[in-house]
Symmetry: C2
Subunit: 440 residues, 2 copies
């Protein structure tokens, strides 16, 4: 990510919650702005200091505190790297309920703060369901212990939910309790080619029907994305070299019985071919081939970065209209940029990437606010899984009503009345407005 460049003269790396609390007490008293930072892998500038904010980097708080092997409930510090956690629980028969391309450097505290979605959401749901508890330090240094380890807890308002996706503007997440599902023995990955987007949708409906409980990912990329990957990423190969189609799907199944899963997958593929939904397909024969299929899909973001300056949009759009935006943008921009569409089709989540030789304000003016207006008109969301950060704080109105934004401002003011936590992010600008006038 080189679109946002930070400015800060001070980076602090606390090792304990107590230290986080003391830092925030100090900053709160002195009205010093603070930007909490995890692995700094976000794409919307959420962890980048805008002016002279103090950087509060959680990377040194990286201890696993507890893992209950009977229930799969993990408690750890916010700075733990996602991949390390997945390895840790993996060797104990469990799997992290989220997975994303940046897993090697992103941190769980950042994942929670941005409500990261990723590749396993289709199967295991969002962090709002999987996070069981949080420890959060508020702007004034108050430590809020919400670190429950229970699947069910209806005692009062579920405060932790506000910090999931709060992007560090309401408090700093210091510890996380999360439920991890059992690791199942059998995984299959298929790479499929479709002639058009309608066939992709029909294939998805068929997969839900025939793969049912074992469907664990349904991803798509267009031909443009595949070409960029093959051109810019070393060691990638076209999984279907004999097919030149417009769309590709990656379908993953995860289950407890290899024989059963294979039967279901074969039946699904046969019927998809018979019905003409897919024109070609390959099933990975071993782990390394499965990894190479995944690399094509996961490598799009990295490959785009190597090809030039990239404008990235992360959108939720109702499935039937999802690809129309890509086509509309392509015809709008003509030859001035390469427009690529890919993403988590199973979640209705499009990653629209626009690559140009360099960042250019004229081009940007062609893209924004058009992309936001288009998405709002389709009743979509201008941020599906990346958050608003610095990039889209001013665009929140495209997805949320004025009354909703006012309530958000009220919460921000309540928890961080001096506005020291991650300023200029999420909400458009400090406002004095209240939701409801104070009782008199």
């Amino acid at each position: 990510m080189n679109k946002y460049e930070g400015h800060s003269q001070l980076l602090l790396r606390p090792r304990t919650t107590q230290q986080v609390s003391e830092i925030l007490q100090y900053c709160y008293a002195g009205r010093l702005a603070v930007v909490p930072q995890g692995g700094n892998t976000g794409l919307v500038g959420g962890s980048v200091p805008v002016f002279d904010e103090v950087i509060l980097n959680l990377g040194a708080m990286n201890k696993i505190l507890n893992f209950d092997e009977a229930s799969g409930i993990l408690v750890c510090e916010a700075g733990c790297i996602l991949e390390s956690l997945d390895n840790y629980v993996g060797s104990r028969g469990y799997v992290m309920p989220l997975d994303l391309g940046a897993k090697g450097s992103c941190q769980i505290g950042g994942n929670v703060s941005t409500n990261a979605g990723g590749l396993r959401l289709l199967r295991y749901g969002s962090l709002h369901g999987n996070v069981l508890g949080l420890e959060v330090v508020l702007a004034d240094g108050t430590v809020l212990d919400l670190l429950g380890t229970l699947r069910k807890d209806n005692t009062g308002y579920d405060l932790k939910q506000l910090f999931i996706g709060g992007e560090g503007t309401l408090g700093v997440v210091t510890k996380v309790s999360i439920i991890t599902p059992p690791k199942l023995a059998s995984t299959n990955v298929a790479f499929l080619a479709c002639e058009d987007y309608v066939s992709c949708q029909k294939t998805f409906a068929q997969a839900k029907l025939q793969l049912g409980e074992i469907l664990s990912a349904f991803e798509f990329l267009d031909r443009y994305a595949l070409d960029v990957v093959l051109k810019h990423l070393d060691g990638t190969r076209d999984p279907l070299p004999d097919s030149k189609q417009h769309f590709y799907l990656l379908v993953e199944t995860t289950g407890s019985n290899q024989l059963h899963d294979k039967e279901k997958l074969d039946a699904f593929l046969e019927s998809a071919i018979e019905q003409g939904l897919i024109t070609d397909g390959a099933v990975a024969q071993d782990i390394s081939q499965a990894a190479s299929f995944w690399k094509v899909r996961e490598g799009v973001a990295e490959a785009m970065g190597k090809g030039g300056a990239v404008y990235k949009y992360d959108l939720s759009i109702p499935l039937k209209d999802l690809y129309t935006l890509v086509e509309d943008m392509r015809s709008r921009l003509k030859d001035s940029a390469t427009v690529v569409g890919y993403g988590h089709m199973g979640d209705g989540n499009l990653h629209l990437n626009i690559m140009a030789p360099k960042y250019d304000n004229e081009l940007l003016a062609q893209i924004e606010p058009y992309v936001y207006e288009w998405t709002a008109a389709a009743k979509g969301s201008i941020s599906a899984e990346h958050g608003l950060g610095f990039m889209k704080a001013k665009a929140i109105h495209y997805s949320k009503s004025t009354a909703a934004v006012q309530v958000m401002e009220g919460f921000k003011k309540l928890l961080d009345p001096r506005g020291i936590l991650n300023p200029y992010k999420v909400l458009p600008s400090p406002s004095e407005s209240h939701v409801i006038s104070e009782a008199t």
Copy 2:
């Protein structure tokens, strides 16, 4: 539920959100307290007027507004009855992600407001993950449109989460958008007998391993519960008449392939018997037998009510200690009451029911606060899925820290500064304290 008797002189049944808004505007201006009410099936007095509150009954707002057959996303009014919704989506190939004993009369708005758990949580997770959007009317009549229909939407704070489990104290839920999973073709139900509680735990671990992705419910009841059901509920039969064991399990699988599921279930049962985890078991041979097994488990609450006065506790307790509380309570109360334990073992959720000839303050003093202290010491939750309501508002401190309760009070004050919405519920008492003193 006859423990709480309401007092109110006025019951209003609005038909539209606009009417809800007008009622609240009026009540807010006149400082009239309001208790929102759904199906009135709660067990903690959350929907019961304590003094002279106006009852705002949502039952007439019972329209289904939209159902997207491609995605399974349902949008409906708050007064829709859960069972009606399940029938509606069921005939279109989907299933509601929650199911509970009261489904025939409870309403989706009440389910959301109490964050109802129930029988499918093990498989589909909580409402915090499944509810995609809400329309909520705030205390002063402001209509808050958070009625998104997208699986992913990271644009600002996820406000709807606070109203899930808010028990009607922060706003009145008027519309709900919820994702419904595909209805799978194959369901199996087994009823098993275990000699002791340790065997129940081991059977659960084995089920997670061998049934994996098809496990959809893991419920337990003790012998006392079974006896009460057989005695008081007409038409119930002991599923295992030749076994007289201390514990019984109901295990349900749901999958897309009957043959595969049966193979997995048979293998699981064989190994559980071989290992001596279960002493006996029966697999339902048809839908009506499956229903009769479920009736035994689901009928405990109703049967208890027919047997006398019942004190009901809904607790989350780490699995290994879950039944110890039942035994401790039994030896504490001796012959003065019948102590019964059952619940959603897969979620670590115990329903502790204590039946006596009549409600009695001396007996109650033996039970409370002992039950809350015991649960707090075990790091459990004093309300797993029922909420705090009127019954446990004062007991919130057993499960939540003072700092957390103060933040809750801050949110309550922000959204309902005059305290008209469902007073005396959830939070112990109005407090003027603020989390963080206002910036000066």
